[in-house]
Amino acid sequence: MAVDLPVERERKPPLALAASALRAGALAGGIAILLIILGLQAAMWALDIGPLSVGDLVLAVLVAWMAARCARGAGTAFGRALVGAVAGVTAAVIYAAFATLANSVNLKEVLDNVGRDAAPALFWHRSAEFAWLVAVAGGLVLGAAGALASYLPARTVRRAASVSARVGAVPYLNMVLAILAAVALIAAPPFIGPFWDQTLGSIGIYVLMGLGLNIVVGFAGLLDLGYVAFFAIGAYTYAFLASPKYGLHLPFLLALPAGMAMACLFGVLLGIPVLRMRGDYLAIVTLGFGEIIRILMNNLTTLTGGPQGVLQIESPSLFGLSATRPLHYYYLILAGCLLVGWVSYQLNRSRIGRAWVAMREDEDVAAASGVNIVRFRLLAFATGAAFAGMGGVIFASRQHAIFPSDFVMLVSINVLCLIIIGGLGSIPGVIAGSVILIGLPEVLRQFADFRLLLFGALLVLMMVARPEGLIPSRRTRLELEEAGQGFGRPPAVEEPAQVAEVRE
């Protein structure tokens, strides 16, 4: 274990401290105004917890945090508190000034979320004098408190943050947790009601797609932006085979493999023309392919029903049991996820997974090691497409009606985002990513308008704070850990011992 040396922070002169306090306060005030203008603040105000709303709480934390950041340069406790208080008051003044502006002039024309109707909320529905008083007093206290909190040694904070890492080191704990999670996933759904069953089902469908795209992008390193195409092909195949559209009523156990096989076929068909493409070019072509499939479904009206879609798609029935409630679909999706997750896991640790990763790391060297690039690229596309096809079949059977508008590019982007946030190449990462990107928006409906905004913010945050993803794959972890330690050429001191070893 490396010993953490206490870092002596540089003491800043008073003038610089004042400047940084003003800057931090202005930043906090600016962020607060941005949140208000975007309407996020209003959405959070709607969530009450006791006398405060979540919105107020977020602002309070923001001010305290900014104050803590700028106060670290001050020497004494009094100095810190003073710097923090200046920052807090600055933020409060900016906030109150903006609130006053919104209450005196109708900003509705330019800023939709701070019109006359919304403005009084910025004053907590009281008088201007009261609001100014509360804001400034609040800023003062929060700033000072936040600044004093900066005395908490960074080590304590870091230790709290790394608890999860150490929990992972306890033997068998992972296994116990996994078993508990599995039991919960199997036993809990009958008791949590249809809303949660439906939500878990939606997450599961994205897990299916995520696991498929994880093979293409995560393992084989082929950036596919048109992945929704295979989802659409699976869904339409099932819709054609099990609806009045063509009068076909294939049983689910036949239609499912048919949908997967069709998606697989298209995976290969897309794979062939892009065999020689890498990176950005591949991404552009696959992006086009995804759109082509959707537009075909939209415009081949006689064949696909066009924008009216395919209706009255049958429920799946297995062994005489027909799926009718979200709970039934949930179990169907869970079974699919388990199957696909298991297949991914087995492939990853086999010769095939190694060939994919080798290809991703260095295609030329992989080829010179005997990996047939053509075959393994097509295999990756086909496998990934088959998983999406399975997701599509289940999706169509669950919705009972599908339309071209279900298969827009945004679906591809969502799936890509969730595997990046979860951790490229990591199977648990796909699950974590789906829960966050698909599950949270379902639960936090009041923020539906801000979904894309929060997505973007989350992605930026992840890229800065944890680029390897929430649950990085073993290989990524290895790579990053080593990069942190032994970068470049280590000292030659280690060499003689090894040379001696070889000579023996």
Partner: protein, 259 residues
Amino acid sequence: MSAILKVEKVSKRFGGLLALHDVDMVVEEGSIASLIGPNGAGKTTLFNVISGFYKPDEGRVILRNREITGLGPDRVASLGIARTYQNIRLFNAMSVLENILVGQHTLLRSGIFSSIVRTPQQRREEEQARQRAIELLRFVGLQGQGDATSRSLPYGAQRRVEIARALALQPKLLLLDEPAAGMNPGETEALIALIRRVRDTMGITVLLIEHDMNVVMGISDYVTVLDYGTKLAEGTPSQVRSDKRVIEAYLGRGVSTAA
């Protein structure tokens, strides 16, 4: 002795640049052969032609009576030619052991189905592959380093991992592109011993590109000299060393006459 590799009248053009011009070369079975020449002479280009990365514009490459001209790198690899690279190219996201397992790709048979269900045969194959990889690590002097990542190893060790990955292919012919580049004298000495053992205990023919003349003259049975894409000279190390044209190419005209 018979020839394991024959390069016949090979030419390779990049736009207006004639990188290789009518190059002939023969590598005898069981020998250690070297390819030398000043920078830009076309040595690595010839390696790329042999290993299938480039298609020659003219000429043929023959591996033990079998023409391999124009075959892709994966086909050439499966026919028994393995190689290393001038600048180390290991798979950084993989452990050392996994790198060597990738090298065994062509020896393993399990396909997608047997990999998913992990048939007993697949398990046995994987276990054998793992054992072979561990043996190879021992062979190159890196026992117990299988779980390390390539980047955490010292430079000389990374070179040996690359050689182990190439040997994992069980090749007939091993191409080494500047294996001693950047090594200190101790490492170089160990490398020479390793190359000898590759030939003597594994029976693999070695063709290497090298600038370090101590290496070249110390281990080569035969040396071929390239300059400006053409073959300048060939012969035993002592013949090449005393060849006037070679000295000129390396040191410039006038030096040989002065000497």
